[in-house]
Symmetry: C2
Subunit: 111 residues, 2 copies
DNA sequence: TCCCGTTGCTACATTTAATGTAGCGATACG
DNA sequence: CGTATCGCTACATTAAATGTAGCAACGGGA
């Protein structure tokens, strides 16, 4: 049984451990972030179309998330609307196994 | 437009569409969920060791997430502490490309 | 037995994040 | 001009997360 070490840093959102995966997990772990990337998978959407796709999530938070995603380089705003960048599409690719997993998971009666 | 009642809340939001990926994205999109799975990747941790690993996140929310993850069948509590189930390890496997992506992402100056 | 440390877990007041509704300025089309 | 959309914001309300404290239960020692 591991013992408790001394307390480290409270740390703001996402760990300062220098591990990029932490920053990424933190970013993706914010509400609607994963969903937004998912909804943009097939092409750009206007902000309002995206909102419709996201079950009418509030524009406030969508705007916040879109800004974060743009700063992270995953999403860009073009004259087609909001779309995934090349990097964003790469990120989406990593979701593919997740999608397949979700199908299997749902058949096992996980809540 | 269907809306959730103010009182009840499904164990997993976003499942109205019947698409399991939505339920999964919603579950994983709650704060600390991704992180918890990540921290358990190498073996079980006691609740307090997990808390330490998660930058001293509040026990309240960790307990909430752990309960959700247990209900989803991803985490179990054994005499070793909290650990990933077989299903949970399967889920973690889908993170692997994410990890590699995070490394590349951090080198490209995202954010 | 009593004491001590650890376990999983909860109470609760405070702070932060998200929601829901409304509406802004800019742009485009008639 | 009117009116429709666009991206985006204000703001009051509500939900979620934080931080601190502490509980009951179990397991050694002494």
């Amino acid at each position: 049984m591991p013992k408790q070490g001394p307390v480290t840093r409270p740390a703001v959102r996402g760990s300062r451990s220098g591990r990029p995966i932490m920053a990424l997990l933190d970013l993706l772990g914010r509400r609607w972030t994963l969903r937004i990337i998912w909804e943009l998978r097939e092409g750009a959407l206007t902000s309002r179309a995206l909102r419709t796709a996201c079950d009418e999530a509030s524009p406030t938070i969508l705007q916040t998330r879109l800004t974060e995603l743009r700063e992270a380089g995953f999403v860009e705003l073009t004259d087609e609307g909001y779309g995934l960048t090349a990097l964003g599409r790469e990120l989406f690719q990593t979701f593919t196994p997740l999608h397949r997993f979700a199908e299997r998971w749902s058949k096992r009666g996980g809540s």
